[in-house]
């Protein structure tokens, strides 16, 4: 039990983070692509494609952070202080972007401020999420204190490295790709045409970023090199990058052929493969390079109690999330909105 529980919770957190990255990924992506829209009508159209969903999407972030606290309080207590500034700046950026959804409509016709906060907030939040990801992967300085156990022992800017900056840029590009393929699926006319032009360029940029991260991590960190290139691991793992390249090719082909649904879901698969790769690199560490899932686990009674809630509520949440996406299915056409 004490062995399986933390593992099960690892899957739950991974699922929540994956859901977040996919769902909020495309709506942050809309914000990232906002500066490229030509006029207010196009921006209205873009925003309308996510307006009914953004709130639910962002809730996965609360589940990711809250879930980490529930299941792995020691990891939560180390990661948050270690990544203090990127986390705080991300939260502030999300404030600006979240309120822009409502303020922009109320501010009519003076929307320009809230266009800037929406775009700026989205870009900054995505970038900070990349910093957090990079800061975690490269490892956190932990020392064991007498009586209270392992604590964060580094400095306020330990996370700021070229690698984490690369991750930040990568996440911005990745979200923009999700946003572009979403718009390609959910809009028509000029907005859809532009996103079809943007998507291949973003796809190429994302592949470059993923390639750089995939090379950088094993070269810089021996543990990750051993994970991928020792035998027999390599025999099982070598297809993953190839599958990613194959998926990227399908996305590109889909865009060329004017497909709408395929490229969006292909981009999601690409994201999930990247996520899988990072998970393979860092497992069994939740806070590399010292704290494993088992080290950080909450009391089994707490993991069981909260786990029951997850088992009951996850299917229900997925159910009504699907319901809302279905109710607001179809394209948001130019000049049409919910407001």
């Amino acid at each position: 039990m004490e062995w399986y529980l933390p593992l099960a919770w690892g899957w739950i957190i991974a699922a929540a983070v994956a859901m977040y990255v996919i769902l909020d990924g495309f709506d942050l992506g809309i914000g990232i692509l906002f500066p490229f829209a030509k006029d207010e009508h196009e921006r209205d159209q873009m925003m309308n494609t996510v307006a009914p969903f953004w709130d639910g999407n962002e809730t996965w972030l609360v589940l990711g952070g809250g879930g980490l606290w529930v299941a792995f309080p020691k990891a939560y207590a180390i990661v948050m202080p270690a990544l203090y500034l990127p986390v705080i700046v991300m939260l502030l950026a999300l404030i600006f972007r979240g309120v822009s959804f409502e303020f922009r409509w109320v501010a009519k016709p003076n929307k320009s401020v809230w266009n800037i906060t929406f775009a700026g907030g989205s870009i900054l939040a995505a970038f900070c999420q990349g910093l957090i990801l990079g800061g975690l992967i490269q490892g956190i300085d932990v020392q064991t204190q007498p009586n209270i156990g392992p604590q964060f022992a580094g400095g306020a800017f330990d996370w700021a490295t070229p690698f984490s900056l690369l991750c930040g840029v990568g996440v911005v590009l990745g979200y923009a790709l999700l946003g572009a393929t979403w718009l390609n699926m959910k809009t028509d006319e000029e907005v859809a045409r532009r996103s079809r032009r943007q998507a291949p360029a973003l796809l190429a940029a994302v592949l470059v970023a993923m390639g750089l991260v995939s090379l950088w991590t094993p070269l810089a960190i021996d543990r990750i090199w051993d994970r991928w290139f020792s035998l027999p691991n390599f025999l099982f793992l070598w297809p993953i990058p190839l599958i990613a390249l194959g998926v990227a090719y399908l996305v590109w082909r889909g865009l060329e052929n004017g497909r709408e649904i395929g490229p969006f879901f292909g981009s999601i698969v690409l994201f999930l493969l990247g996520f899988l790769g990072l998970a393979i690199s860092t497992f069994p560490y939740l806070v590399p390079p010292h704290i494993t899932f088992w080290d950080a686990a909450a009391a089994p009674a707490s993991q069981i109690f909260a786990g029951i809630g997850v088992a009951i509520m996850f299917p229900i949440i997925i159910g009504y999330t699907v319901l809302v996406y279905w109710l607001f299915r179809g394209k948001v056409r130019a000049g049409e909105g919910y407001h």
Binding site: V70, I78, L85, E102, A299, S302, A306, Y320, F328
Partner: protein, 471 residues
Amino acid sequence: MDFDPNLIARLQFAFTVSFHIVFPAFSIGISAYVATLLLIWAKTGADRFHRLARFWTKIFAVSFAMGVVSGIVLSYQFGTNWSRYSEVVGNVVAPLIGYEVLTAFFLEATFLGIMLFGWDRVPAWLHVLSACIVATGTAISGFWILSANSWMHTPAGFEVRDGVAYPLDWLQIIFNPSFPYRFAHMMTAAYLTTAVVVLSVGCRYLLANRFGEDARTMVRMAVGMIAIVAPLQLIIGDQHGLNTLHHQPAKVAAMEGHWNGDEPVALSLFAIPNPEAERNDYDIALPRVSGLILTHEWDGRIKGLRDFPRDQRPPVLPVFFAFRIMVAIGMLLIATGLAGAWLWWRGTLWETRWYLKAASYVWPLGFIAILSGWVVTEVGRQPWVAWGILRTADAMSPVSTGSLVISLTLFVLVYCCVFSVGVYYINRLINRGPDPAIIAPPRGGAANRPLSAAQDATRGAIAGGPEPAAG
């Protein structure tokens, strides 16, 4: 410069949580109000209820968005600023927050999409249902967060091993001794606060001769609600106080400014508590009255602050004054409700301009009372963050003072700018008022309608065009 990091971390949490609580309290209230309006509309078919529901939904949307974004901050702040707290009580408190996310946040956030954007897109019954689900979601959210908070005041169902709390009995944890009182007190406060805002808005319109029928409906509903709920809140608050006396006597002693446990407890109307001299300066007090309220005995005694070692006393001044502000506002709201109900019953409510005028200014009172109440209970819990388990001074993260100062500064700047704009926009929406051009869709029987927003938008434009703006 030499900052006390603990003080900065506390200031930051006090600041962010105070800003936050205003919006969920309002959201809990308005979502329930909108759901009520829509249910009445579904039953009676009277257009004004639909119009009002649409109007308050717009305000709800702005308030809810601010509640969401300021709430996400809190869920991360436990870790960023209070990592020792997260570790020591995480096993017990975190699952309660987890349940809040699972059972409430997703529910609210998802059905909010239908509530805000589904007016013309989904069948009327589904829309009304969504509004009810959102209102229920906000109440469920209140249930869990107040359970977690109450546990910090009156921990139960746990044991401490190696300085870390472990759960023993989840029912005892969730329904810890102060939870039923705190939950009832806070939810009532949220509904009361919203009723007060609705009253002020309605009165504002009446004084300006705008939206006559809609405004009267708002005022009637609000006056009725306040007249019942404000006195009820007094009783609930009294019971909550007795519960606190049992579990956290030092807090009650601070609330009363009661130093000497050997003397009967006076009801201090005004005083400046002097923690150094351990007495009240400039005391204006009714002897024995508080003792009578708290113990129901003429000669009732409770522990005084001097009965507690200095390092176990909460800061007296904020608790003492915040308690007085809260109670004074409570009394004022009871008067507002009863006076309104009296005038209504006499049939002179619409002509009594002094009442409408006074009532148009009461809107902030509920919020101030809520903030004061939280100051009483949270400052009153000091020096503990989790009563008897962990002191606030020992709960901090190992982060640099510089990081704390930077983040506090950013929070103050961003919150002041974003949320004051939000309040400004809410005010702007209120000034615009309900849109008389909006025609309610047919009730029921709409389930088979094709889902077309464009069609309805056209219909609304045609129907709304030639009609003169009413009110």
